[in-house]
């Protein structure tokens, strides 16, 4: 037990019964989140592997299909997400220093940026639907690369769709953290939930940073 740090008023209430002390609980939660992120890497990794396989097999088709994606919107979304990671870090810092009001502010900002991302994504999906680029019976792609292009778009929707799902879950987590902050839960003694949510959010951002060049920038020249 760390006796150098004065016990916070509700430190005892904060420790779950299976742990010896708050420190053990914090370490366990931290390790738990990293292990979970490892599973997420493998989860997305399977699709990245399938993407790599087909891209090596059909480089020209993938380039042609990738060119049909809106690079500007993709770049905007990338900037939006990176900014949201910045605001997330500020939110965690707020929690870490016990400034719950600041934490709420930055959490809301992060959620707003996340919502912008999703809005742009939804708009893009709609555009693809209108352009008949959604795989399935309505898919239409001029030129010789029709079939591999359909595979590209299957991967596009599966990977960005899964990513968007993770974003939605992330926004849910941010809401929960905002509610906790509203009840002044975070302090230098205990800010684990918001710290781990931050890890999750950064990870989801990182996935996008891989997705963007792999999906939007195939065969593009500046």
């Amino acid at each position: 037990m760390n006796s150098a740090v004065p016990a916070a008023p509700d430190a005892f209430e904060v420790r779950a019964h299976q742990f010896e002390d708050v420190e053990q609980q914090h370490h366990a939660s931290w390790l738990g989140m990293w292990v979970f992120l490892a599973t997420e890497v493998m989860f997305f990794g399977g699709m990245f592997a399938a993407y790599a396989f087909y891209r090596v097999g059909f480089p020209n088709a993938f380039a042609a299909a990738s060119n049909r994606l809106d690079v500007t919107l993709g770049a905007i979304n990338t900037a939006v997400l990176i900014s949201s990671s910045f605001t997330m870090a500020l939110a965690v810092h707020g929690g870490e220093t016990g400034r719950n009001k600041a934490a709420i502010r930055y959490l809301l900002l992060t959620m707003l940026l996340g919502a912008v991302f999703l809005g742009v994504k939804f708009y893009e999906y709609h555009e693809k639907f209108v352009e008949h680029l959604v795989p399935g019976p309505a898919f239409r792609f001029e030129g010789p690369h029709a079939h591999p292009a359909e595979i590209f778009f299957s991967l596009y929707f599966a990977m960005t769709g899964l990513h968007a799902l993770h974003m939605i879950i992330g926004i849910g987590l941010l809401t929960w953290m905002a509610l906790k902050a509203r009840r002044k839960r975070f302090s230098p003694i205990y800010y684990t939930p918001i710290e781990l949510t931050g890890l999750y959010w950064h990870f989801v951002d990182l996935i996008w940073i891989f997705l963007f060049p792999l999906l939007y920038l195939v065969g593009r020249h500046l």
Binding site: E20, L31, G32, V35, G46, Y54, I151, S154
Partner: protein, 543 residues
């Protein structure tokens, strides 16, 4: 002998709500025990139908389409809903916190959520069975599963997909618990070998399961949204599916056997009353199996159209993965030397395990020998091989473990004479069922055959006869274990005189396992010392 304590984890609270909303790892272990037992008999029911059909060469019991559903449902149920969860989710959940000296797992509510996710996945699969079943084989090869099958593929893959998350969360819980919640003095090399095995298994849960999740998701999406991802006519590659599928499903078989090996170590040491020979070698071999196990998936694809180079590399690695298993077998056998060996039912299962796992492992060498695999791949030889490991191995270890820890879990002992007879029946029935299948495979009978050439009938009848004996062997424990809950002799704290933290608690243990967190002061399996000399229970520090 000390009797059962007044208040323990089973009677501390009554009512269905106290069970369905529990966060006690021991109660969650029971929830899993009941569920996997139901799934075991469900899968066994399909096995019975298969063996009935195969008594005659003609496909005369059921139509081909129905038979194809039988072996698919048998495989899916047994692999995903029995073998993968059984030892980790039942024995692991019950024992891991106790073996490391903790009050519960790191994340008890997540543990309960894992069980609910498991049940949800199971319900999807049962729904698929009720709706008419699926006929793709448990391996879901494309394009048959993604395009041609007319059965409930999407519903089944959703079931397996959902259940995968149960495994992932359980693995996560175990890894964090083992890393962060060991009692004072319990260094890594003082851990019971069961914990090492569970740890290695959890690594596979965490890294492997997400890959099959995404693979099955892609198959499901392809079916529902007509995607053409694995459709060769639309640029897709059916063999890519096999790579993605086996990347998980090979390590999955190590998920099924590593915990069994962990149980085996516990049983051998307890019933020979001496330390496991070569402790650190056995511990490291678990890790080696987990790591190398991720590198051999292509041995399922030697004749799938994979390149010759890839085939050779996978063959080499497949031989390497056999070596740690051999090391374990030799060390268990050496543990018997100068032990003091009793013939209680758990030990009978444990001794049977060594023999049957050895046969299963040796026949794996046949399959790794790429030139021979060309002949026996996709024949009954393979079926015999994996049943020797999974049934002769894992199920026997599971039963041995259930018997060994039954007094701890229930406070009662089971009737020993019946249990020994049942163990023998299982051993004999098992061998009669599956040994003839090695011969059938060499002679050229392929897998998943509804009807077969008449010259194979004698061996098939032998196999079906064995299956009926094996079934008796499985039903007996079901009966007498339930009987023992009411009429079994009250067990004491440590009826076997074993070492290990779990035997330092009352039988059944209190909800929080230990009144006081123990401090470990000796190696694992210190049979040269008295149990009391191996732990210190100081003054209470925390409730």
């Amino acid at each position: 002998m000390n009797g059962a304590p007044q208040v323990h984890y089973l009677n501390v609270d009554y009512g269905i709500r106290s069970w369905l909303f529990t966060t006690d790892h021991k109660r969650i272990a029971w929830l899993y025990l009941l569920s996997v037992t139901l799934f075991f008999f469900f899968g066994g029911f399909f096995a019975t139908l298969i063996r009935l059909e195969l008594m005659t060469p003609q496909g005369d019991l059921v139509q081909a389409e129905t038979y194809n559903k039988f072996f698919t449902m048998h495989g899916v149920t047994m692999v995903f809903f029995f073998l993968i969860p059984s030892i980790p989710a039942v024995l692991g959940n019950f024992l891991v916190p106790m073996m490391v000296g903790a009050r519960d797992l790191a994340f008890p509510r997540l543990n309960l959520a894992s069980w609910y996710i498991f049940i949800l996945g199971g319900l999807f699969t049962l729904a698929s069975a009720a709706a008419g079943g699926v006929d793709t084989g448990w391996t879901f090869y494309t394009p048959y599963s993604s395009i041609y099958s007319n059965s409930h593929v999407a519903l089944t893959v959703v079931g397996v997909f959902v259940t995968g998350f149960s495994s992932i969360l359980t693995g996560l819980n175990f890894v964090v618990t083992i890393h962060k919640m060991r009692a004072p003095g319990l260094t890594w090399f003082r851990l019971p070998l069961f914990i090492w095995a569970i740890y290695a298994t959890s690594i596979i849960f965490i890294l492997g399961t997400p890959v099959i999740a995404i693979t099955l998701l892609l198959v499901g999406l392809e079916r529902v949204f007509n995607l053409g991802f694995f459709d060769p006519a639309r640029g897709g590659d059916p063999v890519l599916f096999q790579h993605l599928f086996w990347f998980y499903s090979h390590p999955a078989v190590y998920i099924m056997v590593l915990p069994a090996m962990g149980v085996e170590s516990e049983l051998v040491t307890a019933f020979a009353r001496r330390r496991v020979f070569g402790y650190s070698f056995v511990a490291f071999s678990s890790l080696a199996i987990a790591v190398i196990g991720f590198l051999v998936w292509g041995h399922h694809m030697f004749v799938a159209g994979q390149s010759v180079h890839a085939g050779l590399i996978f063959s080499l690695l497949s031989f390497l993965v056999a070596i740690p298993s051999a090391i374990k077998v030799f060390n268990w056998t050496a543990t018997l030397h100068r032990g003091s060996i009793s013939y209680d039912a758990p030990m009978l299962y444990a001794l049977g395990f060594i023999g049957l796992f050895t046969i299963g492992g040796l026949t794996g060498l046949f399959l790794a020998s790429i030139g021979v695999d060309v002949h026996v791949h996709d024949t009954y030889f393979v079926i015999a091989h994996f049943h020797y490991i999974m049934v002769g191995g894992s199920v026997m270890a599971y039963l041995g473990g259930i018997h060994f820890w039954w007094p701890k879990m229930t406070g009662r002992t089971y009737p020993e004479p019946v249990a020994r007879v049942a163990a023998l029946i299982v051993f004999l029935g098992f061998n009669l069922t599956f040994f003839p299948q090695f011969v059938l495979g060499y002679l050229g009978m392929p897998r998943r055959y509804h009807a077969y050439p008449p010259e194979f009938q004698a061996l098939n009848v032998m196999s079906s006869a064995g299956a009926s004996i094996l079934a008796v062997g499985y039903v007996l424990p079901l009966i007498y274990l339930i009987w023992s809950l009411r009429y079994g002799r009250v067990a004491g704290r440590n009826p076997w005189g074993a070492r290990g933290l779990e035997w330092q608690t009352p039988s059944p243990p209190p909800t929080h396992n230990f009144d006081v967190t123990p401090r470990v002061v000796a190696e694992a399996y210190a049979y040269d010392k008295e149990p009391e000399e191996t732990y210190e229970f100081g003054s209470p520090s925390r409730a």
